[in-house]
């Protein structure tokens, strides 16, 4: 049974020979990559942004660019989706060759739905942050109260102790 050896360490280990004597004479590790980079033949970008629908070539079915009323739009998209499904069923019965357009409509409704939901995520992140901060404030207030109470108790016990000692 042949066993393969581990790959050798990268050859620049020799540059770090004097690390124990002078930690500043050795090369720094490479800084984090910004912008776009290539990984295993694929291009990735470090920016975490949700690509808008127009970039994906899908028509945007819900109006407005800021402060969308999410609930209303989600509900209307849902109704539209069901209408499209019924349309597809009808088309299949009457004019079976026109199914492709209907299916394209249905898929664009789905893409709109998912895009709306994804754009809710930053809102959710901020709401989570608010919730966590409120919890933290509450815990800190509780801790302050507890410490105050304990200190008062300690003072009382000490006073009692002194009184007992003096009375002896």
């Amino acid at each position: 049974m042949a066993t393969a050896t581990y790959p050798p360490p990268p050859p620049y280990y020799r540059l770090y020979k004097d690390y124990s004597e002078s930690p500043s004479s050795v090369p720094e590790p490479p800084s984090p990559i910004e912008g776009s980079y290539v990984c295993f033949g694929g291009n990735y970008t470090t920016e975490d942004v949700l690509p808008s629908l127009e970039e994906q070539g899908v028509p945007q079915l819900y109006p407005n660019d800021s402060n969308v009323d999410y609930k209303k739009e989600l509900r209307s998209l849902n109704r539209e989706l069901q209408l499209h499904i019924l349309e597809l069923a009808d088309v299949l019965v009457e004019r079976p060759s026109q199914y492709a357009k209907r299916i394209g409509d249905i898929s664009s409704v789905f893409k709109n739905l998912h895009h709306l939901l994804n754009s809710l995520r930053p809102h959710q992140a901020r709401a989570t942050l608010i919730h966590v901060m409120e919890l933290q404030i509450q815990q800190r207030k509780q801790a302050v109260e507890d410490i105050k109470r304990r200190r008062e108790e300690v003072q009382r016990l000490l006073k009692d102790a002194f009184i007992t000692l003096d009375g002896q």
Binding site: N67, K71, L81, P122, R126, A127, I147, K148, R150, L158
Partner: protein, 119 residues
């Protein structure tokens, strides 16, 4: 699971039920009728309607308080200031408590020494 993920799962399951319905209809259709009762008893379409209703229910349950990003950011900044103030007070109380603890420990040490010396 948080509600946005539930909504996304619901959308995907609506899609799954849809293509299952159409696939079943296509498979069991005439000219060679594969299933004795065609079209299928109303379970599939009922499932579709139920899934869509559930989606609506989830949408209604969205805790979408606030209008907009700026309001949330303002609330976050305010909470941050309050947190800072409370943090400072906590720190002060903690320091005072630790000082008193040290005093008590010192007193206790002296009392113990006295006890040992007087014995």
């Amino acid at each position: 699971m948080d509600i946005i993920s539930q909504l996304q799962e619901q959308v995907n399951s609506i899609a799954a039920i849809t293509f299952n319905v159409f696939g079943t209809l296509q498979r069991d259709a005439p000219p060679v009728q594969l299933s004795p009762n065609y079209p299928e008893p109303k379970q599939l379409s009922a499932a579709l309607v139920k899934a869509a209703k559930q989606f609506d229910a989830l949408v209604a349950a969205l805790p979408l308080s606030d209008g907009g990003e700026e309001a949330q950011l303002k609330i976050i900044a305010q909470l941050q200031m309050e947190n800072h103030v409370i943090g400072q007070e906590l720190h002060k109380q903690l320091e005072a408590a630790e000082k008193e603890l040290k005093q008590v420990q010192e007193l206790f040490g002296q009392a113990a020494d006295n006890c040992l010396n007087l014995k």
